[in-house]
Symmetry: D2
Subunit: 130 residues, 4 copies
């Protein structure tokens, strides 16, 4: 991304996780995370919390893309394949946008395009700017 996105730059936890922003536009976002040893769990696969963080970061970027501060109120994640390395990608799309509540889906995939996780999230939009 050039120039850098100010919302993403201030996301300390996403930076800590090594997440990189690829694209952001109205209601959409794509991020990636190159897997390192410290992303893993006790089973030697990528930690559910790291995969969730990747998906959640795409969700936050997409839901905050309209200029209205959006706070996550619910998220559901289904893990469909263990990930062990390489780069993981999360792509968020807007399913619905209401004045106070909006809903997003995020798909997490690996380098081979294999599906790793499916995420569904809702936000509460703090101020109505119309």
């Amino acid at each position: 991304m050039d120039p850098p996105d100010p919302f993403f730059e201030k996301d300390a936890w996403a930076q800590e996780a090594g997440i990189e922003l690829m694209e952001v536009s109205a209601g959409r976002a794509k991020v990636r995370m190159r897997i390192a040893g410290w992303h893993k769990n006790s089973h030697g696969t990528v930690h559910g919390g790291a995969i969730f963080t990747l998906a959640d970061t795409a969700f936050a970027l997409a839901s905050n893309s309209h200029g209205t501060p959006a706070a996550a109120i619910n998220a559901n994640i289904s893990y469909v394949k263990a990930a062990t390395g390489g780069t993981l990608y999360a792509e968020a799309a807007e399913f619905s946008l209401n004045p106070k509540i909006a809903t997003y889906t995020v798909t997490v995939t690996d380098d081979a395009g294999e599906k790793i996780a499916l995420f569904q999230g809702m936000v509460y939009r703090k101020t109505l700017k119309k």
Copy 2:
């Protein structure tokens, strides 16, 4: 915890997040995380991915407490109050235990005992040891 728990010691992402194990027993676990600046999001509150990681770590400890490797297949989290600092706690309890599938609830609270998030998770248990 004394002696250290070997399952928890190998959880690299939980260590990265600064999570500390307080208690683990059959089907139960309690962990905590002292909030630092790098746990936060662009809104200045604790990142949903950090809160999820805390809950998910308690869930992993509780679900792997029986000696059967358990992999998360689904998790749902509801965020009910923004957290800004201090220490957060996650406590996991087993709701159901079947040979292949088990279900857990995790409650995340802050120093004042206020509820921060509610988490519900399912695991697939890889080997049946009976």
Copy 3:
């Protein structure tokens, strides 16, 4: 219940499902459903939609118990044991209550007290009466 609860009496789908109200108080509700052949699915067990309807009815009663109209925005259900007959019970409890968003848990059990399902739901509260 004596006298009848007007909110429950107007719930046509709950009546259609044969649900009976047992108790309702601030933030809590308990309902039951005597299983008949028409509650079942193609596998001969109680349909996930019927179990969800039972849990959702308890959730609606509990979340509307404060006098503020509450509309469900999200629900998550984990099915932990197949049910085949007898009576099923759903008990809802309030996890959190904010001016606009509230969260509930519902446990579904059978006649033997065995856990059948775990439900977590969020509502959007339409009017703030304080």
Copy 4:
């Protein structure tokens, strides 16, 4: 549908709800429900349990389309718009198919093509036939 689908014909609760099968193929299904007064809740809108039943029926058809009995273990639903009448449609698509666990998404829409709900479900597949 001509000829009738035997799996759907045996789904007593779906019949009770007035659901009609439109299409079913490997990993996919589409159903509809013409809204009547008895589908409604105390607020006069279509009951969350009725909308869930519609989505769940599409999910059951899609997940059982491979010949392996599939039992729902988890479902998450986000309600994005109140429905009041007309016909509702639910369309299920397979997100992932593993030997024991498979994941589906279901979108519920109304006559105008407006999104009503988003559903994400997981099944446990009872027998591996390969």
